[in-house]
């Protein structure tokens, strides 16, 4: 086994990002599409922290990762509220069956 370098972390991040895109494109349930978005944000965060570590622990990358985590929390809260509203209006959260934006 070779020494773990930055490339290993980048490959993990690429695979996680691809899975996020796949969840976003193939799933019909809106909540599962949200999970795909969380995967993509996590993949970006792994990149930020990995580059930060391999520049001799440059903490600016950590600050950026922290802001990404804050944005992910905000996005999840607002998106779940919208999903709840959509469910009340349409009685479904399958993206294919939602045709109206208002009653």
């Amino acid at each position: 086994m070779m020494e773990i370098g930055i490339t290993h972390y980048l490959v993990v991040s690429v695979v996680l990002f691809s899975l996020g895109v796949l969840a976003l494109t193939t799933r019909r349930n809106v909540v599962l599409m949200l999970m795909g978005i969380e995967f993509m944000l996590n993949a970006a965060n792994i990149n930020l922290v990995a580059f930060s570590r391999y520049q001799g622990l440059n903490l600016h990358g950590h600050v950026f990762a922290l802001f990404v985590i804050v944005l992910a929390a905000v996005e999840a809260a607002v998106a779940l509220a919208i999903v709840l509203h959509i469910y009340r209006m349409n009685n479904t959260v399958e993206a294919d069956r939602i045709a109206d934006l208002k009653e």
């Binding site: 950590h62 922290l66 509220a81």
Partner: protein, 168 residues
């Protein structure tokens, strides 16, 4: 050597449940396997000596976002329900395109000679320096993020309210 083994353990802990989220037919199983993905990512942060980010990941993602998502699944679905999968005619092309993009990205980044310094400064954790950075260089983004959180929580509460309550 231990680091190498730990890296592969955490990478597997991240990616295998992630596959499960994408391909599982049971919604609630997908929601719960998200827990292991977030734990695995936190482990990777620890390996990258990002202790504060790792703890923030566990607290925000597992303590907050995961609970919200599980609530979302449970409120909008019966637990025993099985999702009607997208038709094969849509899943297979998407999988092919995404796999192609993934392989391309890996082929691009694999041969690059990234700037790597194994130098680690002698500090006890990153929390103190991170706090200093947030209070000096990044004070403006920090405050803006606080305002954003406040606005988002108020907006989420407003959107999620029942429509008739808004009128009264």
């Amino acid at each position: 050597m231990e680091i190498t083994i730990l890296f592969y353990v955490f990478a597997a802990l991240t990616l295998i449940p992630a596959f499960f989220v994408v391909f599982s037919r049971s919604l609630i199983h997908a929601a719960f396997s998200l827990l292991f993905t977030f734990m695995g990512v936190a482990g990777l942060y620890v390996l990258l000596s990002a202790d504060f980010i790792a703890v923030a990941q566990i607290m925000v993602y597992i303590g907050g976002i995961l609970i919200l998502l599980v609530f979302g699944v449970m409120i909008t679905k019966q637990v025993t329900d099985v999702e009607i999968q997208a038709s094969v005619g849509r899943t297979i092309p998407a999988t092919i395109v995404v796999a192609f993009a993934m392989v391309t990205l890996i082929f691009i980044l694999w041969p690059v000679n990234w700037m790597q310094s194994d130098y680690l400064p002698e500090i006890e954790g990153t929390t103190m320096e991170l706090g200093e950075l947030l209070m000096t260089t990044f004070i403006l983004p920090f405050e803006v993020a606080g305002i954003l959180l406040l606005v988002a929580v108020m907006g989420a509460a407003l959107i999620a309210r029942k429509p008739e309550e808004v009128q009264s």
